[in-house]
Structures are given as structure tokens and as C-alpha cells.
Symmetry: C2
Subunit: 409 residues, 2 copies
């Protein structure tokens, strides 16, 4: 199902020359593609983006991972180790609005496609880069992947049980989290260019980007004078009861409901007591204020667990949510995938892929009443060689045949 | 230290009318403010944004949390429960480019400031909303906070030890993660409006937004047919050794180094062996391929732990990183706060606040060569009443005095 509301894409007409691979870069360019930009992946003719083969269970078939992060894009093959290939990229850069790469440190400069080179070709070009560590960092030459960024950016230190080892959040914040911040910056630069007519260089480092998502830790630290802690399922700001997960029937690994009540007063707590049939405790001195409930946290948690254990997580969430108590079931990926509402509302949509068939996947989750936000298949390797080189550069079939014969495409 | 490169802000001239509080909305509008938009918080005269008082240790002084999420903004007080207050917001909406709110479900409509009302005032207005659950969801009327979004959006199910309970990532993805996706959509709509001249309605739901950051789980699930698992410090895609944290001297709660080697061949593994002085194992049959290393994961981990325990995490990271092995120390918030490189590179900057004094905090982490990305203090409550009403509406001191006398401001 495509979401079509009769409007065009917000970024219709914006051309993105995309030399990224795996996830930090591709998640960024995919966000631009959801919004209607024409994103052209430039891939080596020998296999292309490494994500095509990584974690695939069938050799020669693009991985699910690749499909998820490359919806709506086009693919052109180009061997950057040939002079003709480099010239082709430069010609495309002249026609592009955005250029983006996430090669290992130093690679793009050694290829001869640095910012200083491409700005000479096109001073309107927005030249964006993702690296693991920032320019000027002692680690600027180091390789990084999602988990390295999350470690060095502070995320592992605040995730996990208080008495356990650091844990990695399951979310790929080092990759997609960085990609989203880069997309914001690119969009800002595109907006600015409408008045200045000039492009610029934009650099995102994955370690640095992690701080954007963990800023609460710096508020905690400013208050306590100590590094922000790990809090298991609770929150690192602490000081509130109830705030955590409570076990539900039938006791599987994700059969829990999160329950929280505001510490700004008793209104949510009193709703909670009524909802669980314990209005008799409205005046209990153990629970008469947020501070008292924190002092008697074990009693609060016993009381709620007795109630939650009698219900499954959906029932518990519905009863509490309807009563105006913040509560949420701990859903796993399969439960979300099978949730009829998420599909009806278009949060999951189905990609029709030539090799994979129909694949239901999460799409851009923000609703826009005035912009088309479609879903089209992730491209096969080199699928758009003719179409893109034709429309961007006016290159015809003969020249493409020659480029192929020369091993450029 | 402000970052000033002689350019103007990317969004200079963009006016944002900001009725949000706490974090999901404020993190979005702060991103727009970093990029140069004029963001005006509209706050109730009795205390304003609840985040000012939440987690503050000094009554009447804005919390660190508030400072972090409201840099570069302005504040105007307005009592939305008065007719004159509502009229004032409508007048401001006529002058604004973006309107944004994250009240509880139904509140903005009951106030009489729905999309249908404000589009009549200004059809160029981009009207953005954040809710916990999407319009049409069975939970659309439920309250939500960061942890509720993370629970119901699948994040807790993939975070924590494999044999332990679900854990909440320390990062506030439900809030800031949603805010970043909303910022991308707003920027797309602003770009589009340059050609269409029309605004639109944009809606982000915190549960839905979580899927954007956990899409790897849906690739895992597509491969295995099972819900994505919890993997402790490892990765939910699994299947790679080494991939995880290794204990370092002196054995504190965050004294670990993350080590990973690619499963596309032996090049990183062989570098690792050389770096730890075990080149003698290059031909060891236990480790001769990625699959063998996975089969002998315990031996791989023993071998590396013996080496890491002899070093602190910084030494371990430097030796491995220089050797071309992906490796990262597990840094805590205090170590990052005190990191000289992060400060020199402007990732941490100091806010000069009238009540709090100097406060060093993380700022917008993406570098933009052609845009000014300044840091100015978070506003005191109502600090810009005169300035904003004067410049936006031409309202003078007399009228403001009358509004104050009437309890509107």
C-alpha cells in the first residue's frame, strides 16, 4: 500500500548523489527519499553496497536489511577505481543538490572526490559526510560501527541493570540515530541555499551524534555530580514510583506492562488505585505523596504486581490507559509486525520487490497531509544505469555500452 | 563558546510558534532553533513549561533538563484559558511559519486551536503535533511518556540481557527520537512550501516513531521467523565473534572496551591478533574463518579478555583502533563531559544562563561549514514578551500592560 494524497513529495526535484553503504548514510538518504528526493546510489559493479550481501541467507539476493534501508532509491554502478568512473561521478555531482558519503576515514579524499574538488565542480552542492569520529578527534582515523559509536558516545554506560554490565540498546542509534541528525542538517542547508545559492560541507560523527539522544544524562549528572547510572527498565532520572515494568500473565519474556505515575501530585496515582480496585488505599499514609511512594517503593511494586500478574499485558495496558494512567505493554517485533492498527495506519507497508516478493516493513512514521510519502522497492544493483545517466547527463545507450565494456559500470 | 563562521543560520527568518513542553516537542523545536529559526515558546504564566520545575533542586530556578532542551529559544507567556490569550495565539499564528504542540490528546482541539481553525488564519502554516499514539490507534486517547513509547514501540523487548527482563535504553528515544523525525518532516514541508506556498498538517506518534530506530529487528525477524531477541551488549543480528564488551583494568562498572571484527573475511581479525601480540594464531584452525570464530566464541572471548584485563579501556581502544580494528571504550557521561577533544571541537559548549551561571552541555553535534549554529541561553519565563509581541504583532508597552493586568500574560 502506498500513501498517496494527491500531493507531490516535499523534496520533489532534489537530486541526491549517494555514495553511502550499510546504515548511517543510507538511513539518512532514505529519509530524503521518503520525502520525495531522487536518491541515486552509486555502487561498485562488483556487489555494490555491502549491505546487499550482509546477513542475507541467499547468496545473490539482496538482504532484508538492504531492502529496509534503501526503499525508494535508484542504483547506478560505477567503478571508482577507474578514471572514467571518477569523471562520471564528477559529472553527476554537477547536476546534484546533495552529495553524501560514509567511507572509512580518508578514502573519499584518496579517491579524488573531496569537498574541495567537488565544490569546484558545483558550488551549490551540499556535501555531507558521516564518520565514526569527528575531524580533530584523537580517534578521527579509527573505524567505527554502530556499537562502537554507542560505546564511545556514552549509551552503553546508561543501559543495562544497575548491578550488571553495560548493555547495548537494541536500537541502532549509532547508525540511524546519526543518519537522522545528518538529514536535519542537510535539509537546513537546502532551505538556506534557496536564498544564498550556495552549498556547504556538513560533517556528522557517530560518537558525537550519540550525545543528542542522551542529554538527560547530563541533566542527571549536573544534579548529582556523578556519572549517570544504569537503571534497568527504570529511568536514569530516578526518584519516581511506580516507574518500571510489571509482570503479566502468561509470564513470557516480554509479558510486562510499563506503569508510571507523575511525581507532580497524586492525580495519576489515585486514578491507578481506582483502576485496580484499590480505592481503599487513597488515604494510605504509605502512598500519600510522591515522596512517600518513593520511600515505600517495594510496597508500591508489590501492590501493582499482584494486580498485573492476573492479566495479560494488553488487558493491563487498556485498563490503565483508559483510566488516564501512563501505561504501555512491552511489545516485541512480531507483535508489532502483526498489529492490525499499525498496518491500517500505514506504519507498516508492503514493498513489492522483484526478487523478494512482497515484504512488509516499517516506513516513514510521520504523517504529512500535504506531501506524498510513497514506498517503492529498493533498487537492484545498477537497475537505473540507463535511466539516471540519461536523465541527469543525457548519456545514451552507446556511451553506456562503452562504459560497461571498459569495466566502469 | 559559540560557533560562528560568519554565515547566517540555515533557517534564518523562519518563525516557530511553540506550544510544546517536556522533551519530544522541545527537542524538535530546539533542533530548528540550532539551525537558526526564531522559536517562541508560548507558556502559561503560572510556571510555564513543566520541565522548568521537573527535577529542579532549587524551587523557582529552571532545571538543568529545561536548559538542555530549550537553548536558543524565546519565551512568551499567554494564558490559553482566556479569550484574549487565545486571540493572541491566533494573531501570532498568522505571522508564524510553523506551529507545534504536544499537549495530551484532544487538548488543543478543546482549546479551539485545531488545525482546521489555524489553517483558516494562515494557509501557509505548517501545523505539527506530537502524540503518544497515532490518530486511529486503539490507544489514541492514552497518555504517554518516553518509557511508554519505548515499551509499546518494541525497544524494551530488544534491550537487556538474553536471560533477563526487558530493559529501557538510557537514551530518551521516545522523546528526542520522535522529535528528530518530526523536525525532518517539518523541514521537508518548509522546503516544499517554497514552491507550493501552502502549509500542511504533520503528525508524529511516539510509538510509531520507535520503529524507525529499530528496523534492524524486522530484518532479523524476516530471517529467523521469530521476534528479535535481547542480546545484552552484543548485537541482535548475532552471528559474529568477537562482538561485545571486554573487561579492562581497573574493573569499574564501565571499564570495558567494545571489540568487533567484520565477518566479511579475516582481515580485521588478523590485524587484531597482531595488535595483541598473538600473530602466532593467524593460522589457528579454531579461528581460521568467521564461521569458525563463531563456533569457538568462548575461546575468542577468553583470548581477548586476557589481553584487555591488562590494560585500561583507553589504552585498549587506542592500540586496537590504530591497528584498524573497530574498538571503542565504554565511556560514561562524566568521562565525555571532561573529554578535552569534545570541548575543543565544540560538541560541548557553555551556556551563560542568568540564574544558573555557566553550564557546559552538549549542543547540535553536526558541523555545518556554511551555517551559523550558535548557543544562546534557554529563556526565562516570559523573558521575550515585549520583544516578540512587538516584532511579530507591533504590540506596544501599553497593550502588554493591559494584557498583564487582565491575567493574559
Amino acid at each position: 500500500m502506498n500513501t498517496t494524497n494527491g500531493a507531490s513529495g516535499a523534496l520533489a526535484g532534489v537530486r541526491v548523489l549517494d555514495l553511502t553503504q550499510f546504515e548511517a548514510g543510507p538511513s539518512c538518504t532514505e529519509a530524503l527519499a521518503w520525502l520525495g528526493a531522487e536518491v541515486v546510489k552509486v555502487e561498485n559493479p562488483q556487489g555494490g553496497d555491502q549491505a546487499r550481501a550482509a546477513w542475507t541467507e541467499k547468496q545473490g539476493i539482496d538482504s532484508w536489511y538492504f531492502l529496509i534501508f534503501n526503499a525508494n532509491k535508484k542504483s547506478v554502478t560505477c567503478n571508482l577505481k577507474t578514471e572514467a568512473g571518477l569523471q562520471l561521478v564528477k559529472r553527476m555531482a554537477r547536476e546534484a543538490d546533495v552529495f553524501i558519503e560514509n567511507f572509512a576515514p580518508g578514502v573519499i579524499e584518496r579517491l579524488g572526490l573531496s569537498y574541495d574538488v567537488l565544490r569546484e565542480e558545483n558550488d551549490r552542492l551540499i556535501y555531507a559526510q558521516v564518520k565514526g569520529f569527528g575531524e580533530g578527534s584523537p580517534y578521527e582515523d579509527f573505524l567505527a560501527f554502530d556499537m562502537i559509536a554507542q560505546s564511545t558516545g556514552g549509551l552503553l554506560s546508561i543501559t543495562g541493570e544497575p548491578d550488571g554490565q553495560p548493555n547495548k540498546p537494541g536500537a541502532t542509534l549509532g547508525d540511524t540515530g546519526t543518519g537522522m541528525l545528518l538529514a536535519i542538517s542537510i535539509l537546513g542547508a537546502l532551505y538556506q541555499r534557496q536564498s544564498t545559492g550556495k552549498g556547504q560541507r556538513i560533517q556528522a560523527a557517530m560518537q558525537d551524534a550519540m550525545l543528542q539522544y542522551t542529554r538527560v544524562a547530563y541533566a542527571v549528572q549536573a544534579s548529582t555530580g556523578k556519572p549517570a547510572p544504569r537503571a534497568g527498565p527504570k529511568i536514569i532520572t530516578g526518584g519516581t514510583a511506580p516507574c518500571g515494568i510489571f509482570p503479566c500473565d502468561p509470564g513470557g519474556p516480554n509479558d510486562y506492562v510499563y506503569i508510571y505515575t507523575s511525581r507532580a501530585g497524586n492525580h495519576q496515582w489515585n486514578r491507578l488505585l481506582s483502576a485496580i480496585g484499590r480505592a481503599d488505599l487513597h488515604d494510605d499514609p504509605r502512598f500519600e505523596s510522591p515522596a512517600k511512594r518513593m520511600d515505600n517503593q517495594a510496597d508500591v511494586e508489590d501492590l501493582l504486581s499482584q494486580w498485573t500478574r492476573q492479566r495479560n499485558k494488553r488487558e493491563a495496558m487498556e485498563i490503565l490507559g483508559k483510566a488516564g494512567v501512563p501505561a504501555g505493554a512491552v511489545y516485541d517485533s512480531m507483535e508489532l509486525y502483526n498489529d492490525p492498527s499499525l498496518e491500517e495506519r500505514g506504519i507498516f507497508q508492503t514493498m513489492a520487490h522483484p526478487d523478494r516478493g512482497d515484504f512488509k516493513m516499517p516506513v516513514w512514521p510521520v504523517k504529512m497531509s500535504g506531501s506524498e510519502v510513497p514506498l517503492a522497492a529498493a533498487p537492484l544493483l545498477g537497475e537505473h544505469n540507463e535511466a539516471v545517466l540519461g536523465s541527469w547527463l543525457g548519456i545514451g545507450a552507446d556511451e553506456i555500452d562503452a562504459l560497461k565494456a571498459d569495466g566502469v559500470m
